[in-house]
Each structure stands twice: as structure tokens, then as C-alpha cells.
């Protein structure tokens, strides 16, 4: 393409803006949370716009200026360029103006014929507008159909994602229904996305209602990803009975959980301090031939430590090393937390040396855990030493460790030292001034009460 005469700003936009992603290139809702997120940001028009806004060639949403800018550009057969031009304008203009610009582009350059993604730009724009109805979205969809592009699964996906990322969840649901009635039934990616949204901002009963409705009227069935999303949500609300029920349903429907789902289920049990159930999940994984990964072991060790079974947690540290997984800072810190809970602070401290020896760098969380442990166990010398190290490294204090340290110092009559810790907490912005002060005040109050 002839890049020479283009404004630099637009060239940059053209190079990063791709035509809308086709369904074939959609990665499956992957088992680990990170790829799922990347996929979301790759498709969400909003994220992409943010990147472009700094490079947009438009300074104002004025339509005639946009038209003349377009005329000043050379006619180029590259569709991507036209689309990114329109996209840049759409990010700052109204839907009506964007449609007029598209019409102008088609009229003045007969070589340019818009494709599906051109209309998706307009659709995404209409979804982002904070409107009380779906009128704008319908306008974009009708325009699309009128110009010979019947809305398909990708259209539905783009619209639903754009609507919900703009906080228009009800509209997204409404559109989901409309699309399945009028056009094609949305695919499982859109379906799972809606389930995820509902989990996040609606009640569980609404999620089930949606799933039942899709199953009966559209033939869309929940898949492994759907169950993973729901179970993860249920785990976060600490609803043990529902977790157990869902795990049962999974078996009945004949799903074979993958490592990620097992980890999610295990996390649920661990958050409720159900050590035995967590171990059961681990054993079931191995029975079913799913190899536990680093996350599995970290979850298990965290859960057992939380449930006051640090000895067993330590056993799994050994097992994971034997299986070739390298324990990381999370593994060690969880275990230290467990040991501190059982008042074995020295054991936890020994673990610090052990982890350093094996080349794992402790972080602020590790130090806070130990500091908390030492203060609780009234081993202030070690505690103060540790605090010194943290201060030298500029580490932030966590609320619990800070409060325990203050209380311990005050109880020993080291009021000036407590004030010094307060200063450090404020200075390092570990806590807000308010919570740092409230803690100091109540620690002092406690001491004064004892003195009287």
C-alpha cells in the first residue's frame, strides 16, 4: 500500500487495527485464566480504542473535517486502512456521523466496498454509547442487513461483549435473545461470556434461569467452561453445598474435569478450610489421570495450612518436588503461614532460609507472614529484626502484621518504637493514614487500660 502520503498518526492506527476477529481464530475458553483474559482484551473494542485514542488522527468529532481528511488521503485498495480510519472516527463521534462518513467513503471511492468488519465497527460504537434503549444497536444491525451482511455469530459476540463492557448487561441479555430469534444462535463463547457476566453481577438463580432458558429454547448446553465459571463463582461465595451439588452434576452429565476445573474445585474447599475434601480432589485427579500442576500443589498447601494441617502440607511440598514441580514464593509463604498458625514460628523461619537456598526470593507477603508470626508468639527480638530488614528493603506492611507489631510493642512499653512503626507505615503508604492511626490509637488505649 502507499503509505507515503498518510498522516503518521493514521499509519500507526492502521498497523495495530485488525479486522474483527473471525470465529475460527477465537481461542477456546481456555483452562487457565490468563489466556481467557487476553482473549477478552483482544476482542473487546473498548480496549483497542484506548490504545488508539492517543494516535487518532481526529482532533474533533466534526463530520465535514473528517470527510475532507478522507478526501485528502490517497485512494488505496487496502480495506484495513478504510476500516481503521472509520474506527478512529467512531471512537470520538456519534453513530449518525459515523454512518454518514461511511456513506461518504463509499460514494467518493467506488473502489472501497465495506466488509463485515466495517459494520462491526459501527455496531461496537452503538453498543458503547450510554443509551437507555437498543435503538442505536438496531440501527447498526439494520444497516448491516440492508447492505447485504446478515448478522452472524461474530456480530452477536461483538455486540454482547461491547454492551456488557459498557455496563449495559440488561441490553446485552435482550440482544442475546433477539439475535437467537432473528438471526443465528450465538456460539458457546458468547454464551459463556454471558454466564460469566451474570455470575459477576447477578444472582446465581438468574444464572441458572439463563442456562435453563438456553437449554430448552435454543438447544445451547452448558459445557465444561460454563461449569468452571459457575463453580469458580460459587467457590468465591463460599457456598459449600452448591459446590458439592455441582460436582455431582458434572459427574452425572459425563464431563471429565480438566486440571483447571479440579484446581477451581479444590480452591473452593480450601477457602472453606476443608482440608480432607481438598486432598480428596487431589486423589481423584490422580485417579482420573489428570496430572496436578504447580497451581494444584500451591492450592493444596495453602488449604492444608489454613486448615491447621501444616505437617501434611509439608509432606506435599516434598511430593511436588519429587514430581518435578519447583515450589515458588507462594508455596513457601503458604506453608510458613500454616506453621505460624501452629505457633511453630521457628520452623517457618527455617523455611525462609530453605527457600533462599533453593533460589526463591521471598517477597513482602513472606516477610509480613513471618513478622505477624513472631509478634504473635511474643518473640519480639526476632520480630524487630525482621521489621528492620523489611524497612531497609522498602517493603510495605500488611494490615494484620502492622497491627500485631504495634500491639506487641505497646504491650512491652516501647511506645516510641510503636510511633516509629506508625511513621513508616504512613511514609511507605502501606496503609491509609486513617487505618494506620486507628490501629495506633486502639493499641495505646489497650495499654492505658491495663495500666490503670
Amino acid at each position: 500500500m502507499k503509505m507515503g502520503k498518510l498522516p503518521t498518526s493514521l499509519r500507526a492506527a492502521a498497523s495495530i487495527s485488525r479486522p474483527k476477529i473471525a470465529p475460527s481464530s477465537l481461542v477456546s475458553e481456555s483452562s487457565s485464566p490468563t489466556p481467557a483474559k487476553t482473549r477478552l482484551s483482544a476482542i473487546s473494542p473498548r480496549t483497542r480504542d484506548d490504545g488508539e485514542s492517543s494516535r487518532t488522527p481526529f482532533k474533533s468529532p466534526d463530520l465535514s473535517a473528517a470527510k475532507s481528511l478522507f478526501n485528502s488521503m490517497v485512494a488505496t485498495p487496502d480495506l484495513r486502512l478504510h476500516n481503521s480510519f472509520l474506527q478512529s472516527y467512531a471512537s470520538i463521534s456519534t453513530l449518525g456521523d459515523s454512518i454518514s462518513l461511511l456513506r461518504h467513503m463509499m460514494k467518493s471511492h467506488p473502489t472501497f466496498s465495506p466488509d463485515r468488519s466495517t459494520y462491526h465497527i459501527l455496531l461496537a460504537q452503538s453498543c458503547r454509547a450510554p443509551e437507555p434503549t437498543l435503538a442505536g444497536v438496531h440501527r447498526a444491525l439494520n444497516l448491516m442487513s440492508a447492505d447485504g451482511f446478515a448478522p452472524d455469530k461474530v456480530t452477536a459476540d461483538i455486540a454482547v461483549r461491547a454492551l456488557s463492557s459498557s455496563g449495559r448487561i440488561d441490553h446485552a441479555l435482550q440482544l442475546f435473545d433477539e439475535m437467537s430469534l432473528k438471526h443465528s444462535v450465538p456460539d458457546s463463547y458468547t454464551y459463556n461470556f454471558v454466564v460469566k457476566c451474570l455470575c459477576k453481577c447477578r444472582s446465581l438463580s438468574m444464572v441458572y434461569e439463563f442456562i435453563d432458558k438456553c437449554r430448552s429454547s435454543l438447544g445451547l448446553k452448558p459445557d465444561l467452561v460454563t461449569y468452571t465459571i459457575i463453580i469458580d463463582n460459587v467457590c468465591n461465595t463460599k457456598n459449600l453445598r452448591e459446590i458439592t451439588r455441582l460436582v455431582g452434576v458434572l459427574g452425572e452429565e459425563g464431563f471429565k474435569p480438566d486440571c483447571f476445573l479440579y484446581n477451581t474445585i479444590m480452591k473452593g474447599y480450601c477457602m472453606l478450610s476443608r482440608g480432607s475434601e481438598a486432598i480428596e480432589v487431589y486423589n481423584k485427579m490422580r485417579e482420573n489421570g489428570v496430572e496436578p500442576d504447580l497451581v494444584t500443589y500451591n492450592t493444596l498447601i495453602f488449604g492444608l495450612s489454613k486448615a491447621g494441617r501444616a505437617k501434611e502440607a509439608r509432606k506435599y511440598l516434598k511430593i511436588m518436588a519429587e514430581k518435578g514441580h519447583v515450589p515458588d514464593v507462594v508455596t513457601y509463604t503458604s506453608l510458613m503461614n500454616g506453621l505460624c498458625r501452629e505457633r511453630d514460628v521457628l520452623g517457618a523461619y527455617a523455611l525462609l532460609e530453605e527457600m533462599k537456598e533453593s533460589g526463591v526470593e521471598p517477597n513482602a507477603c513472606t516477610y509480613n507472614t513471618l513478622l505477624h508470626g513472631f509478634c504473635k508468639a511474643k518473640m519480639m527480638e526476632k520480630g524487630i529484626e525482621l521489621y528492620g530488614e523489611m524497612k531497609a528493603a522498602g517493603m510495605e506492611l500488611e494490615t494484620a502484621a502492622y497491627a500485631t507489631l504495634l500491639r506487641a510493642l505497646c504491650r512491652q512499653g516501647k511506645i516510641a518504637d510503636a510511633y516509629e512503626v506508625f511513621d513508616y507505615a504512613v511514609e511507605s503508604k502501606s496503609l491509609t493514614d486513617v487505618s494506620a492511626y486507628s490501629t495506633l490509637e486502639s493499641a495505646l488505649k489497650e495499654v492505658n487500660k491495663h495500666r490503670e
Partner: protein, 100 residues
């Protein structure tokens, strides 16, 4: 973003937080010390504590004790010596509880 624990504290007891950070019209002696007519209890404590540090008023032999200078005495009940531990309580005296 507030830490969850603190959010909890606020929702549990919004009044407690309010009387810590709400601006209050100061009584005259405190007004002279602060050099402003309005401040919150937290702001006042921070100011007094940094005044102590700046002027090195902590006793050299016992850092838990403050040797008040004249200015400090005027706001801390006229005491020549004050313990660090009672500082928040003494400052609180200037901020009477608001009636409901």
C-alpha cells in the same frame, strides 16, 4: 481503593471514621497552634506528632516521654511532661463527641 478490612470498619461504624476525619472548628488555643481554624482529629494528631519530632521534644533518656515546650503545653492541659501513650487521648479532649 480501601483495603477490605477498612471497608468493613467503615460499614460497621461510619461514625467512628467520621469523627476522625471530619473537619471541625477548632477552639482558640488549638487554632493558634495549628495556624488554621479548621482541621480533623487525624490532621491535628499528625501535626502535633510532627511538631514533636521537628523540635526534638522526646526525652533523651526515655523516648516515651515528651518534654513539652510552651506551645505544646498550651494545648496539652499545661502539663510539663506528657507520655507518648496518652497523646491521642489528650488530643481527643479538644474534639468533643458530636451530639446525635
Amino acid at each position: 481503593m480501601l483495603p477490605p478490612r477498612m471497608k468493613q470498619a467503615i460499614t460497621d461504624n461510619p461514625k467512628k471514621l467520621a469523627n476522625l476525619i471530619d473537619l471541625v472548628n477548632l477552639p482558640t488555643p488549638l487554632r493558634d497552634f495549628m495556624g488554621q481554624s479548621q482541621t480533623s482529629r487525624l490532621g491535628c494528631f499528625m501535626r502535633v506528632w510532627s511538631y514533636i519530632k521537628e523540635n526534638k521534644l522526646q526525652d533523651l533518656n526515655n523516648k516515651n516521654v515528651i518534654n513539652c515546650d510552651e506551645k505544646l503545653r498550651s494545648i496539652l492541659l499545661g502539663k510539663p511532661q506528657v507520655e507518648l501513650a496518652e497523646l491521642p487521648a489528650l488530643i481527643k479532649l479538644h474534639f468533643p463527641k458530636k451530639p446525635n
